[in-house]
């Protein structure tokens, strides 16, 4: 079989559980969690790849892959199904040697797929994760990497000092070259947080992966092992500053916030894009949404296939939802296929796919400005029974 040589390919780490998303990832891998009305989290790195001219993407899956695999399919929604492009799902597999088994860590996941990468004989490999909402041109980052003649380039963003100890922190020289990497430091020396986006020279990465695999006791992790090892070995490593919108949606609160940040006339994150920054997703074969004369929709996203008879304020309503007459939805994220029956009230909530809030049920609570909010969450297919209450912060 013929494989076209690629200057750059991407490997997308999509196997994590995302346990901090609690009930939302009980049956779904985090990258397949719905976002923004008609997307899933993985659409962002995948679309970024396509918009950056990267047409070969390996997607490493492990945790609850059914829905994710189905969603990626042959890569058609992102145009990754052509003769010389692919979105290849790479699950763990059995090997003749003893190195097979579940992916032990992020580095081991790539290690186990060296053969896939070698087919394309790439100069550069971009390592991505399926945890973040952002738009980024990886081609600019690769050009930066190339111009600085680096072995590895890590995208960084400035975070508030108070939050820096939650991240991998990169300490850099004035020319942005990295002299130290600290994983979640107690006393951070800088506020340059790693975004988990790496560009490697493939030859360097391959060697490092093989060496790491042969090191007993290694966590086989990029942040804990590969990056510090390369630094220690004296490789030139660069920090690539990124100032655009970037949000880790790994928690219930941050997932809710990121959805809310799509709203407004000039939203914090403008998901609309020109041809170069468009986010693609698998489309549902649903008709347009129907907005009834009794409906009232203010400052909200409503995707297609919805029937809205009630009130929607400051919320994201995903494809195929029904909002009954007299129902009120406020400050909420309503995932695909949700039914909110007449008279129900939903505030500060994330309603999981195909869940249902029956007549006159109440989900979540109201808050004054500045008050600490607790998001109520329903899991996939859950039913909040008629006339019952799901308290603020409760999960069903």
């Amino acid at each position: 079989m013929f494989f076209q040589k690629k200057r750059c390919i991407a490997m997308l780490l999509a196997g994590g559980q995302g346990s901090r998303l609690k009930v939302l990832t009980e049956k779904t891998a985090k990258p397949a969690v719905p976002f923004g009305g008609k997307y899933r989290i993985i659409d962002f790195p995948l679309s970024n790849c396509v918009n950056s001219g990267i047409d070969t993407v390996g997607i490493l899956t492990q945790y609850q892959p059914l829905e994710l695999n189905e969603y990626i399919g042959n890569g058609q929604p992102w145009g990754l199904n052509k003769t010389h492009s692919c979105a290849q799902v790479l699950p763990p597999y059995e090997r003749h040697d003893k190195k097979s088994g579940w992916y032990k860590g992020t580095a081991n996941a790539i290690y186990q797929n060296i053969d896939f990468i070698e087919r394309f004989d790439p100069d550069y490999v971009v390592i991505l994760s399926g945890d973040h909402i952002y738009k980024m041109d990886y081609a600019d980052m690769v050009a930066y990497h190339e111009a600085h003649n680096a072995s590895c380039t890590i995208a960084v963003r400035n975070v508030p000092l108070a939050e820096a100890s939650r991240f991998g922190i990169l300490n850099t020289n004035p020319d942005n070259s990295i002299y130290e990497f600290e994983e979640k430091p107690k006393k951070p020396k800088s506020t340059n947080a790693s975004m988990g986006i790496y560009v490697f020279n493939w030859s360097v990465l391959k060697e490092a992966l093989i060496a790491d695999e042969d090191t007993p006791g290694s966590s086989n992790d990029f942040g804990k092992n590969i990056i510090p090892n390369l630094l220690a070995a004296g490789h030139k490593m660069m920090a690539y500053p990124f100032n655009g919108y970037w949000k880790d949606v790994g928690t219930i609160d941050s997932l809710w916030e990121a959805n809310m940040e799509l709203l407004g006339k000039e939203p914090e994150f403008n998901i609309r894009g020109d041809e170069r920054t468009k986010i693609f997703a698998r489309n549902s074969a649903l008709p347009s949404s129907y907005i009834d004369e009794k409906a009232k929709i203010v400052n909200a996203f409503v995707a297609e296939g919805c029937d809205v008879y009630g009130e929607v304020r400051h919320s994201v309503i995903s494809v195929g939802c029904t909002i009954g007459e007299g129902a009120q939805v406020e400050d909420s994220v309503v995932m695909p296929g949700v039914v909110i029956e007449p008279g129900a009230i939903v505030r500060h909530a994330i309603l999981g796919e195909n869940s249902k809030v029956e007549r006159n049920a109440v989900v979540g609570g109201a808050y004054g400005p500045g008050e600490k909010k607790a998001i109520s969450v329903t899991s996939k297919g859950a039913v909040v029974a008629a006339n019952t209450v799901l308290l603020p912060g409760e999960m069903l």
Partner: protein, 370 residues
């Protein structure tokens, strides 16, 4: 059962709206082109060999359908074929369906294994389970099965083809191009026939300079007792978009939940070519009532009893009432539109006023600035 599908793309003229497109590629219902309904009906019934007969203006249709991927018709064997005048044995356009079938004889004969042919007109919309029609056809043992709709004939509307049945369900009268009285069943322009039989009939009629399916083959054959006709009464919604008035009314009829449930979900989803857009944003001041809204819109004004296609912008203070607004329209601040059809990509300047009537909606041509 091996079945071939034939879609007729050009059978209705909607004035200015179809000067540069076929009726098959007329945008409909916010997200669709009319042909999506015929294609989805065929595809859902497992028909994997479909020809589209198009006389003229078929560029937008080809652009929409492409290789038929959305309908599962991008196949190596069979799949989708465009039967345009220049790809067939004649270089002029056709005078009737039989002549166009005659010109498409290579296509008809090529699908060697296909036993039956389903013929659909793309301007008549329905969500019908064609496997039931095919079964009924086979069971009837008749030459032609025509799908009909009750309640359309009213003595005023001129129907292409209508039949009356006796108590036994046999055809007792048949009329063509006539305002059939109440009680007649209107043809839904879906026919099932045996393929070999059809090929023979096409050759016979062409030899006698007869070009019309309804008038010559069905009516003429039935009157002479040469063609037996089975009638399949379809209970679901059938939309006839033969005139601008009907097209306009049928679009707006989609605000009725029953009509929508029937046309979009009665038997199967309606597939269309995907143009991926963001969800529609409803701004602070927008008032949307009884309307169908596609994706990618930016809504800040008032919309009532209307259909909005994708990427429509309604500025603050604009009022849209009983309108069909196609893709990419920008409706400026404070403008007022009532009974208007905006073709694609129209810009309405702030403060403009366009008022049509239900029977004669104002049509603004594609790309115009008013």
């Amino acid at each position: 059962m091996r079945v071939m599908g034939i879609i007729f793309a050009n059978d209705a003229s909607l004035g200015e709206l179809t000067t540069k497109r076929t009726s098959a590629s007329m945008p409909f219902g916010g997200r669709y082109r009319q042909v999506d309904f015929a294609l989805s009906n065929l595809s859902a019934a497992g028909v994997r060999h479909v020809g589209i007969i198009s006389r003229h203006n078929y560029q937008s249709l080809m652009n929409h359908i492409g290789d038929g991927e959305e309908w599962g018709l991008e196949l190596e064997e069979g799949g989708l074929e465009f039967l345009t005048p220049y790809s067939m044995s004649t270089s002029h356009t056709y005078r009737g369906k039989l002549e166009s079938l005659y010109s498409a004889m290579d296509f008809l004969e090529f699908g060697g294994d296909d036993e039956y042919v389903v013929m659909i007109d793309s301007a008549v919309l329905s969500n019908i389970d064609l496997t039931k029609v095919l079964d009924a056809h086979v069971k009837s043992g008749k030459d032609v099965t025509m799908v009909t709709k009750a309640g359309v004939a009213d003595g005023k509307r001129v129907l292409d083809l209508a039949v009356k049945l006796d108590e036994k369900g046999e055809v007792s009268d048949m009329v063509v191009d006539y305002a059939a009285p109440e009680g007649y069943l209107a043809s839904a322009d879906i026919f099932v026939l045996n393929k070999k039989w059809l090929i023979g009939k096409v050759l016979e009629h062409m030899a006698r300079n007869q070009f019309h399916m309804d008038r010559d083959l069905v009516l003429g054959g039935w009157q002479k007792g040469e063609v037996s006709v089975n009638v399949y009464e379809f209970p679901g919604v059938v939309m006839y978009n033969d005139t601008v008035e009907e097209y306009f009314a049928n679009n707006l009829a989609l605000t009725d939940a029953k009509v929508r449930a029937d046309l979009f979900g009665y038997n199967h989803p309606v597939y269309t070519k995907v143009r991926f857009r963001v969800p529609t944003y409803y701004g602070e001041g927008c008032e949307i009532e009884n309307s169908l809204v596609a994706d990618g819109c930016m809504l800040e004004g008032e919309v009532e009893d209307s259909v909005l296609f994708r990427d429509v912008t309604i500025a603050p203070g604009a009022e849209v009432d009983h309108c069909v607004i196609m893709n990419d329209a920008v409706i400026g601040e404070g403008s007022e539109l009532k009974y208007v059809i905006l073709d694609k990509n129209v810009t309405v300047r702030p403060g403009s006023k366009l008022i049509g009537t239900k029977k004669n909606p104002i049509i603004i041509k594609r790309g115009e600035i008013v």
